[in-house]
C-alpha cells in the first residue's frame, strides 16, 4: 500500500489531489458523478465579499493544448458561500480550501475574516493572480503590496494561509519570498498565463474581455518550473498546478517540489479526472519505486529533502 497522505502548513490531506479553484464550482456538479470524499480536497471558486457578475461573454476559447478563459471571478459572494455552499461541501471527508478574492486589501480581509471560524474550512487560498479582472494582478506585480496584503490577511485568521502566485511576473521567487515575509504558510502555483485569441472573421479578439488566462497541458512546463523554483528557494510548502491531466503529471509536480497538487482544466475534458488521478498517482508512485507521496516529494528536491528530515 502506497501512503498518499500529505501534511504541511497545518493541513492534513488524505491524498495530495485537490481540485483547482474556478474549475470545480463549489463541488455540487461533480458530486453528481462521484463521492467527493475520494479527493484530498477542493479549492473552491474565488469568493468575494459581495456577489460578482464576472465578465461579458465570450468567456472561453480554445487554445493549443489547453484553453483561454476570462470568467472574471463570477461568484455569489461570502454570505451565499457560508450559508449554501460550505454546508454542502462539509458533508464530504476532504479539505475545503476557500479561494479568496477582492478588489483591495479590505475586500480580501473581510472574506478572510468571514470564513475564519466557519466550521469546515481547512485553509484559505489568497488569489492574487487572476488576470481576468481589473487589478487582478495588482498584488502580484509588486512584491511589497503582496506582502502587505498577506500581513493583513494573516492578522485576520489563524487558518492555514496559502497564497496563489502569478506566473505573469519576472520573478515568482521574489513574490513568494514577500508572501512568506507577510506570514503565508504555503504557496500555490500557477494561476493562468495571460494570452489572447484572435478571430480572423471578426478581426478582433475572441474573448469579451479581450485577453484571457491560458491553462491546460500547454502550461505544464511553466507550472513545473515555477513550483520547482518556489520549492527550492522560498522555503514554504507549495501546492502545484497547471496542466495536470494524469497521475504521471501529478508525480512530476511532486518531484518538482509540490506537497500537493490541484487539477484544473483537465476536469473539463474528463469530469472524472480528479479521482482518476488519485488512482493513477498511486500506480505511478509504485512504478517508480516510492512507498509514499511524501517520499517522492523528498526525493528530487535537495532543499525539500533537508526540510523533510
Amino acid at each position: 500500500m502506497i501512503d498518499l497522505s500529505a501534511s504541511f502548513a497545518g493541513l492534513s490531506l488524505k491524498n495530495p489531489v485537490l481540485t483547482a479553484s474556478g474549475t470545480f464550482g463549489y463541488g455540487r456538479e461533480a458530486a453528481e458523478l462521484y463521492d467527493l470524499s475520494l479527493l484530498g480536497g477542493v479549492m473552491v471558486k474565488g469568493v468575494s465579499r459581495e456577489p460578482w457578475s464576472g465578465n461579458a461573454p465570450a468567456r472561453v476559447a480554445r487554445a493549443p493544448g489547453g484553453m483561454l478563459n476570462a470568467i472574471g471571478l463570477q461568484n455569489p459572494g461570502l454570505t451565499h458561500f457560508l450559508e449554501v455552499d460550505l454546508p454542502f461541501l462539509r458533508r464530504y471527508e476532504m479539505a475545503v480550501v476557500v479561494n479568496v478574492v477582492g478588489h483591495d486589501v479590505e475586500g480580501f480581509v473581510d472574506v478572510v475574516r468571514g470564513v475564519t471560524g466557519a466550521p469546515g474550512v481547512a485553509a484559505i487560498e489568497l488569489n492574487i493572480s487572476c488576470p481576468n479582472v481589473k487589478d487582478g494582478l495588482l498584488f502580484s506585480q509588486d512584491p511589497q503590496s503582496a506582502r502587505r496584503l498577506v500581513e493583513a490577511a494573516r492578522q485576520a485568521t489563524d487558518l492555514p494561509l496559502i497564497v496563489k502566485v502569478s506566473p505573469n511576473v519576472t520573478d515568482p521567487v521574489e513574490l513568494g519570498l514577500a508572501c512568506r515575509e507577510g506570514g503565508a504558510d504555503a504557496l500555490s502555483a500557477i494561476n493562468t498565463l495571460v494570452g489572447i485569441a484572435i478571430d480572423p472573421a471578426r478581426r478582433a479578439p475572441v474573448l469579451g474581455n479581450r485577453t484571457g488566462g491560458l491553462s491546460g497541458p500547454a502550461v505544464k512546463p511553466v507550472g513545473l518550473r515555477i513550483v520547482y523554483d518556489l520549492a527550492a528557494q522560498v522555503g514554504l510548502p507549495v501546492v502545484g498546478m497547471g496542466g495536470i491531466e494524469t497521475g504521471r503529471d501529478a508525480l512530476e509536480y511532486i518531484l518538482a517540489g509540490a506537497r500537493a497538487i490541484a487539477v484544473g482544466t483537465a476536469v473539463f475534458r474528463d469530469p472524472y479526472a480528479p479521482p482518476r488521478i488519485v488512482r493513477e498517482l498511486e500506480a505511478e508512485l509504485e512504478r517508480y519505486g516510492f512507498d509514499s507521496a511524501a517520499q517522492a516529494w523528498a526525493a528530487a528536491n535537495p532543499q525539500a529533502r533537508e526540510a523533510v528530515s
Binding site: G54, P57, R59, R62, Q74, V267
Partner: protein, 258 residues
C-alpha cells in the same frame, strides 16, 4: 449526466458539410429533447476541450446519434471517425424543452445546426398527441438537413432557404401560421431574437435552445453564460448571468436577454 464510451456504428453525410454520427452506447441512455452531450473531439492540440452536440435521431436507447456541420478542428475530427472508433462522451446535459401538459399545436423552428434537437422534440410532442409543424431553414437546398427524418415522425415540414433554391426564400419566421399554441426554436441568434420578439409581443409562449462557447458543459467553469432577463435580486451582481449548459440550453423566451 454520466460518462460513456460511445462506439461509432455509422457515419453518414446527409447534406453538404454535414455528418450524422450514429453511435452505440454500452447501455441504455435516457435523454430528454433539447439535452446535449459533450464529445471528446480529438487528441490534437486544438481539441483539448470537448465539444457540445445535441443528440439526434434515436430509436434504440442503446444508440445515440449526432448531426453536425463541419466547422473547425473538433467537428473535422469527428467527421473523420470510422466505425469502431471510440467517442468518450459526457451527458445527457442541461435542461431540455418543456412539454405542454396537453395536446397542442406546436411550431418548431430549426435553422442550420439548430435542427438536431427538434427531432426528439417532434417525436415527444407527437407521442403526447400534439400537432407538429416543423419549419426548417438552411443556406440552400444542398445544406438542408432533417426534413425527411422529421416527416417520418409525423411532423408537417415547411422549408425556407436563404437563396430560395428550395422552399420559401427568406427568414423562417415568415412561415409561422397565426394559430399555434407554442413555439420552439433552435438556430442562429437572429432567428432566436425574432421568435423571442414575436412571443413577448403577445404571441404564443416560446422556448429557445441556445448555444454558447463551452468549456465543461456541466456547470463548473461559468464559461457559457448568457444574461438573465430578470435577475433575481437576492443574488445581487451574481444574478446577472445564467449558464447555458445548466440553466439551459433551453430557456423560456422571457428568461434571457441577448
Amino acid at each position: 449526466m454520466r460518462q460513456w464510451e460511445l462506439v461509432v456504428a455509422e457515419s453518414l453525410r446527409p447534406a453538404e458539410g454535414y455528418v450524422e454520427l450514429r453511435c452505440e452506447a454500452p447501455e441504455a441512455i435516457e435523454t430528454a429533447p433539447g439535452q446535449f452531450f459533450m464529445l471528446r473531439a480529438g487528441e490534437g492540440p486544438d481539441t483539448y476541450l470537448p465539444r457540445a452536440f445535441s443528440w439526434y435521431r434515436r430509436e434504440d436507447p442503446r444508440r445515440v446519434s449526432f448531426l453536425f456541420r463541419v466547422q473547425g478542428p473538433g467537428t473535422a475530427h469527428l467527421a473523420a471517425l470510422r466505425p469502431g472508433d471510440l467517442v468518450p462522451a459526457t451527458g445527457p446535459l442541461g435542461r431540455g424543452f418543456p412539454l405542454p401538459g396537453r395536446p397542442v399545436r406546436a411550431a418548431l423552428l430549426g435553422g442550420g445546426v439548430g435542427v438536431p434537437p427538434l427531432w426528439g422534440l417532434a417525436r415527444a410532442l407527437r407521442a403526447q398527441g400534439s400537432e407538429v409543424l416543423a419549419l426548417v431553414g438552411a443556406r440552400s437546398r444542398a445544406h438542408l438537413v432533417g426534413v425527411e427524418d422529421l416527416r417520418a415522425e409525423g411532423a408537417q415540414v415547411l422549408v425556407a432557404t436563404d437563396d430560395g433554391s428550395t422552399g420559401y426564400r427568406g427568414p423562417l419566421t415568415d412561415l409561422l401560421p397565426a394559430d399555434v399554441d407554442v413555439l420552439y426554436a433552435c438556430g442562429p441568434e437572429g432567428m432566436l431574437r425574432r421568435v423571442q420578439e414575436i412571443s413577448l409581443a403577445g404571441g404564443p409562449e416560446a422556448y429557445l435552445a441556445l448555444e454558447a462557447p463551452m468549456a465543461c458543459g456541466y456547470g463548473v467553469c461559468l464559461g457559457c453564460v448568457v444574461e438573465r432577463a430578470e435577475p433575481d435580486p437576492a443574488l445581487g451582481e451574481y444574478g446577472k448571468y445564467q449558464r447555458v449548459c445548466r440553466e439551459g440550453p433551453v430557456f423560456a423566451a422571457g428568461e434571457v436577454r441577448f
